[in-house]
Symmetry: C2
Subunit: 214 residues, 2 copies
């Protein structure tokens, strides 16, 4: 996945770590944080932080550092953490339930408004306070509520069919946890979270005892 314009993707991916460090600092009553401290939270040097923050037009004070509250607000705005984001989730296995009940997501503005499963035995079940709905209702619900994001936690490549249904309903962004490459129109943003593929790279390191650093 590559950003086509604006902030480089590696920079974007570091911002949440800066944000966490700022939240921590604020809780400790610190009003100001230096680029070096922020960098430590993301495993990069201070210069990198300053460069990253220049992309989002946030300025610090030379000799002092960054205003923690101002920078945290700017990051919330830039990352859109304050905006409500609605998602549906398909595949109510252990992983689906884990994501559906993960409180860290709500804190970032993500509301998983509906759960779906293909298994009739699961339809009607309650997870959190949401009922599991049948797949037949997926497309229409997405369209009716104008849901922006779809989360796929089905095993196997049934993921492709699920993705097609989601896109049919009007979804533009898919967070895919199935170990399959989805084939979808260019306009759909797909973020793959492919744990088996990640494991394979770890396996390489276990096998070859390679050192890594951040």
């Amino acid at each position: 996945m590559q950003e086509k314009s604006g902030i480089p993707l590696p920079s974007l991916r570091r911002l949440p770590f800066y944000y966490r460090r700022l939240a921590e600092a604020l809780q400790q009553g610190l009003a100001v944080v230096s680029s070096e401290e922020l960098g430590a939270a993301a495993g990069v040097a201070g210069a990198q932080v300053r460069r990253d923050l220049s992309y989002i037009r946030e300025e610090g004070r030379p000799g002092i550092g960054y205003d923690a509250r101002a920078l945290a607000s700017r990051l919330e705005e830039f990352l859109g953490l304050v905006n409500a984001k609605e998602a549906v989730l398909v595949g109510v296995g252990n992983l689906g339930r884990a994501l559906a009940s993960y409180s860290g997501f709500e804190r970032y503005g993500l509301h998983i408004v509906a759960l779906f499963d293909q298994d009739p035995a699961k339809v009607g079940m309650t997870v959190g306070d949401r009922q599991v709905l049948p797949m037949t209702k997926l497309t229409s619900l997405i369209a009716r509520l104008r849901i922006q994001m779809g989360i796929i936690t089905v095993p196997s490549c049934a993921a492709q069919d699920v993705a097609d249904l989601m896109v049919g309903g009007g979804i533009r962004i898919i967070w895919n946890f199935a170990p399959c490459r989805l084939v979808l129109p260019e306009s759909i943003l797909v973020k793959n979270e492919d744990l088996a593929a990640e494991l394979a790279t770890l396996s390489h390191h276990i096998t070859h005892r390679t050192q890594m650093s951040h």
Copy 2:
């Protein structure tokens, strides 16, 4: 995380996708696959594939392509998928159970040999065919069985304490699903799977409707 020597990290991370495409091809009875086809499976061009494969010293035949069986074997070997890798998992919530019962891992040689949880109510529970053990047994079990890898699926930054215990037992590689940066000796390889941070970058895209491509 940055590879210090050998194959570049971006290349390494594409190899599992090539491997999957090869497995698929073999199942379809294809004996040969071109770099362009492999590239499609990872979202890159053929030239990139040829470069990646040159790092692992696998050669194709000009005008023909790559021998699917030979390349698949080479990838299995290079990624260490055939080697048995033993891991312990700490934190038997939904996510922990999802990982503990994910069959895709076994296929890549990962055996999660023991589960731990800090919650007395969970100790003694059975997941798959493994009993959940108390934290007091973590370090000694790791040391006794010479476990290589630790998987952390606890919520919150109790993850740091868990990681310290793991390292105390002799673990060298940690797969961390907690939304916290672990502070550990340089020699320990930490792979963070930080879903909240990933969500934050998706949130940015939802908010700004940016296009991405692979």
